[in-house]
């Protein structure tokens, strides 16, 4: 078994059998990160020392008979999660000097489960982007083709897993930021139901849409991680108090009789034909597994991107107000007065895309425009949610492409925000509705991975994971590794 291409489940077994210690695994991945991995620019901070200490602690816990399934398994956190004593940059110059004094809930949970954090993953600045090109630390490369973007905003997380730098990573998904990079890098990524995972300590982009989730090679690995990440946290008022199923124990799913909806709006104009045929092939696999398909309509799909690009910027314009150069983060040199302090600290600290969204959001919330933009977008949001709810009266899951194309080239869309925004056309509506969605590898287009998206009803992560797992039992797309990083 090759360590860097193994799944979390495989490494867990290896640790349990004593084939490897956590220290060995950790050293192996650190070596990858500091070797081939450097070219990917997937990590912005490597915490080797802390990782080795955590690995030794995990090995001791195992020796004491206190190991769980994730004990000693290495992983990386998206740099949006606050990590105590470690720089938490959110991909921004604004927080390049920010050492968090506390841990995010997700960080504490995975640490309590015994996972070893190798470092912090690169990301689009403040999670605003679909290509990882907006990072202050430079673009991340797609392991399948280093000319291509890895997707975003959790591009560092996706590239780290696909490139064999870590078996798993955390991500966050506001409009597709887990699922789209998972698709573009050929890995599995789950965006849970809004409220399933605490947002405490996860730097906010758009609070009503942000949700943390796992990214890994397989649905099984995502199940293992979600079990540890999910659960009630009283520090997040939007976190739902609801039992967390043992997802990894309920993966074996009989798909006979399962009804899957195919939204006709997800197969129309703009969908790359090669991607479309990969999705068709996946439908065929699911039919063979016993699933039944039904065409459905999500009639307001075309309104999702415009509504999202009002709501998300509106919330971000307010969420990012705290970065003012006063208490932490970037402060301009020698401000001559308060206004100068604000303008230059924020002007220098934030990149173009972040500034663009702050301006759009500020405008949308302004007196005289609020009703026409923000309120209207919220109404659209309800319509989109209602579309899904009525669809789920007839179907158990919804299936479609994760992204309309495979990975595009670095620089290809960076001057055209709208074409960039459209790469999330199939993922955004899921965030607006607050539903869970998963992207699984389903083939290739031009040598670059294609992702299949499954969307479930609220808190139906178990069914989503089961369906994804069933597909991964009969396909091998998720086992493919990019040659340069094999």
């Amino acid at each position: 078994m090759s360590i860097h291409t193994s799944t979390v489940a495989e490494l867990s077994t290896a640790l349990a059998r004593g084939d490897h210690s956590s220290r060995e695994l950790t050293e192996a991945f650190l070596q990858r990160i500091q070797g081939q991995g450097v070219a990917l620019n997937a990590l912005v901070t490597v915490t080797a020392e802390q990782a080795l200490a955590a690995a030794d602690a995990a090995d001791r816990a195992r020796a004491d008979g206190e190991a769980g399934p994730l004990t000693g398994v290495p992983m990386v956190h998206k740099d949006i999660f606050c990590t105590r004593g470690v720089r938490t940059s959110c991909g921004s110059r604004m927080l390049d000097n920010f050492i968090s004094p506390y841990n995010a809930h997700v960080v504490d949970r995975l640490s309590a489960a015994g996972m070893v954090c190798l470092g912090k993953a690169n990301m689009d600045e403040f999670a605003m982007g679909s290509s990882n090109e907006t990072s202050f630390y430079g673009p991340v490369k797609n392991p399948w083709d280093t000319d291509a973007v890895p997707g975003g905003s959790s591009g560092g997380s996706a590239a780290a897993v696909a490139g064999g730098l870590a078996p798993a990573a955390t991500g966050t998904d506001t409009g597709g930021s887990i699922r789209q990079p998972a698709a573009l890098c050929g890995i599995t990524g789950l965006k849970p139901t809004y409220g399933r995972v605490s947002r405490y300590g996860m730097i906010a982009f758009a609070s009503s849409l942000d949700q943390a989730g796992p990214m890994a090679r397989t649905a099984e690995d995502c199940a293992l991680l979600l079990e540890a990440m999910a659960g009630f946290d009283m520090r997040d008022s939007t976190c739902v108090e609801r039992e967390v199923p043992r997802y990894s124990q309920h993966l074996a799913t009989d798909l006979n009789g399962l009804t899957i909806g195919l939204p006709k709006e997800y197969f129309g104009e703009g969908l790359d034909p090669t991607v479309a045929s990969a999705i068709d092939a996946a439908v065929t696999e699911y039919r063979k597994l016993g699933a039944e398909f039904r065409e459905i309509s999500l009639a307001n799909t075309h309104l999702a991107v415009p509504a999202y690009y009002v709501i998300a910027p509106a919330e971000c314009s307010s969420n990012l107000s705290r970065f003012d150069g006063v208490r932490f983060g970037h402060r301009c040199d020698a401000p001559k007065d308060l206004e100068d302090l604000y303008k230059r600290s924020r002007g220098e600290g934030f990149g173009d895309e972040v500034q663009r969204r702050i301006m759009v959001g500020t405008y949308a919330l302004s007196a005289g425009y609020y009703d026409a933009y923000y309120l209207k977008a919220q109404q659209v949001r309800r319509l989109i949610r209602d579309d899904f709810l009525s669809a789920f009266e007839d179907v158990d899951l919804i299936l479609g492409p994760t992204s309309p194309t495979a990975a595009f080239n670095i620089g290809e869309r960076s001057d055209d925000p709208v074409s960039m925004y459209l790469s999330d056309i199939y993922t955004i509506a899921v965030n607006l509705a607050g539903l869970p969605g998963i992207s699984v590898p389903a083939g290739f287009a031009g040598g670059r991975p294609v992702g299949l998206q499954l969307i479930g009803n609220y808190f139906d992560e178990a069914r989503l994971l089961g369906a994804a797992h069933a597909y991964q039992q009969v396909t091998d797309w998720h086992t493919r590794v990019p040659e340069a990083f094999a």
């Binding site: 999660f81 606050c82 938490t88 959110c90 927080l95 920010f98 968090s100 004094p101 506390y102 995010a104 947002r199 405490y200 300590g201 996860m202 730097i203 906010a204 758009a206 609070s207 009503s208 009283m234 520090r235 997040d236 008022s237 939007t238 509106a314 919330e315 314009s317 307010s318 990012l320 107000s321 705290r322 970065f323 003012d324 006063v326 208490r327 932490f328 308060l338 604000y342 500020t362 919330l365 302004s366 007196a367 609020y370 923000y374």
Partner: protein, 479 residues
């Protein structure tokens, strides 16, 4: 000359007396070293989230129930966005379109004894900001975030007030209420209770309102009165000399006694309010409202009515005594200790006690003369052990920690003389020493009786029972 009518509405900020902040677990205690009571949430660190303090909600509901307001079953926290160094998140969490409490009223009493109703538009929950510190810093501004996140109830009145005195009476009423309800300590010096006044004028008889100016941050009853009166004068002068009032925010300068412009409407912030996505809508069931209603104390208006009915007090006395809950409680404890004598107790509480408290700058709660001590003294007045006049000396002695009334009377030998023989002996001496006055009295100059009473009381060192002295003197003089 045009006659003007003033229109005033107040926005009162009452700091709620919760132990921890409205959205974090940090302490709200006043006076700690700067930034020692500001946790990660108060500092607005990246990634932190607010969690609503249920106690602040209970307090808002208490206020709403005490003022006949509706309690919203569904209200929403909104973000008020603006940049300021003492506002860590760049927005204040407040309530905007849907406040927790709305549409009520209070009755205020004016100087002439008339009452008037003042409508309450709404009361909403919000967090306070921190403080900018300018003193003791060279070339920079200090920021203290201890106050950031302290819960406030903003109480907005209808524009029902027509004079500065009415505004003060209204503010005092709310001040009394929040202290009765134990939801605010009412400490105006520490800023726990402060208000903004919206002031406009219009020609008497005109229905539309004039353009208003908002005077910010008035933190004493005296400043409210002075600032509003100054503002009324300013507006009338302005309009009568051909100018127009502009909508603006003004600051009251208590040193100069005037208001000055802070910012005009054009310069005003666009706060870009929107519902805070980090907080769920606040849902309050009618069961919760009833549970809170059951815990409400007797409120000032009801207490006043009861004092009038049960103790036979005048409306004025009952009003004064019930203005604060502590004073009302003190009064009732005195009556109980005295075994009645409510009128006497009222006079003492409103008179000598209140005077002594004011003189020494104390609150009724920490009076050195306890209700039991005062009640004990009143008993000695009513059983004729001491006269009302001697009682004043006894009270002072008790105030100075010389023991309770009986101990003071004993130690100082202040017991009233009621022995007829002893009093008659003193009268005889006075009559013998003043033959001229006796003659004049007997010739019909009745007014001299007071002179004789005074002489006898003097001879007794004030201890003779005045009623007995009167009676016996009349008898002897006419004899």
């Amino acid at each position: 000359m045009m006659e003007w009518e003033t229109v005033i509405g107040l926005e009162i900020h009452a700091q709620l007396a919760t132990r921890s902040k409205i959205f974090s677990g940090a302490s709200t205690a006043y006076g700690a070293d700067p930034n020692t009571q500001a946790c990660a949430v108060d500092l607005g660190l990246p990634g932190v989230l607010p969690v609503l303090n249920g106690e602040a909600v209970n307090m808002a509901v208490r206020f709403g129930l005490a003022t006949g307001c509706s309690i919203a079953p569904h209200s929403v926290f909104a973000r008020k966005n603006y940049f300021y160094p003492d506002l860590p998140k760049g927005y204040q969490i407040s309530q905007y379109e849907l406040p927790v409490v709305h549409d009520g009223e209070v009755t205020i009493e004016l100087d002439d004894g008339e009452t008037m109703r003042v409508g309450l538009t709404r009361a909403h929950l919000e967090e306070d900001a921190g403080k900018s510190l300018h003193e003791g810093f060279e070339g920079v501004t200090g920021i203290d975030l201890n106050r950031a996140g302290t819960p406030l109830l903003e109480i907005v009145s209808e524009p029902d007030l027509r004079s500065a005195r009415q505004a003060v009476a209204y503010m005092k009423k709310i001040h009394s209420l929040v202290r009765y309800l134990e939801i605010c300590d009412g400490n105006m010096q520490e800023g726990s209770f402060r208000c903004d006044a919206n002031v406009s004028i219009r020609p008497k008889g005109q229905a539309e309102f004039g353009t208003r100016a908002e005077i910010k941050n008035l933190n004493s009853f005296r400043f409210v009165e002075k600032a509003i009166n100054h503002e009324i004068e300013r507006q009338i002068d302005l309009v009568e000399s051909g100018g127009t009032v502009v909508q603006e925010t003004r600051l009251y300068d208590s040193v100069k006694g005037e208001t000055r412009s802070m910012r005009t409407k054009e310069e005003a912030n666009d706060y870009r309010y929107f519902p805070d996505p980090d907080l769920l809508p606040l849902e309050i069931t009618s069961e919760e409202v009833e549970r809170i209603r059951a815990t409400l104390p007797e409120l000032p208006d009801a207490k006043k009515q009861r004092f009038m009915a049960d103790y036979g007090l005048s409306a004025y006395d009952a009003g004064v005594l019930t203005a604060s809950r502590d004073q009302a409680d003190y009064f009732e404890a005195v009556v109980e200790a005295a075994g009645g004598e409510a009128k006497l107790a009222a006079n003492w509480v409103m008179g000598d006690l209140s005077g002594a408290l004011n003189r020494d700058g104390r609150e009724v709660g920490d009076s050195p003369v306890t209700p039991a001590m005062l009640g004990g003294m009143l008993k000695r007045i009513s059983d004729n052990t001491i006269s009302g006049k001697i009682a004043k000396d006894v009270f002072e002695a008790m105030w100075n920690d010389e023991g309770d009334a009986d101990a003071v009377i004993e130690a100082k030998g202040l017991k009233q003389v009621t022995d007829t023989g002893a009093i008659e002996a003193m009268i005889d001496e006075v009559i013998a020493a003043n033959p001229g006055q006796v003659e004049q009295y007997r010739a019909g100059k009745d007014k001299l009786l007071g002179f004789f009473v005074g002489q006898v009381m003097k001879a007794s060192k004030g201890k003779a029972n005045p009623a007995q002295v009167n009676e016996l003197l009349k008898k002897k003089l006419s004899g």
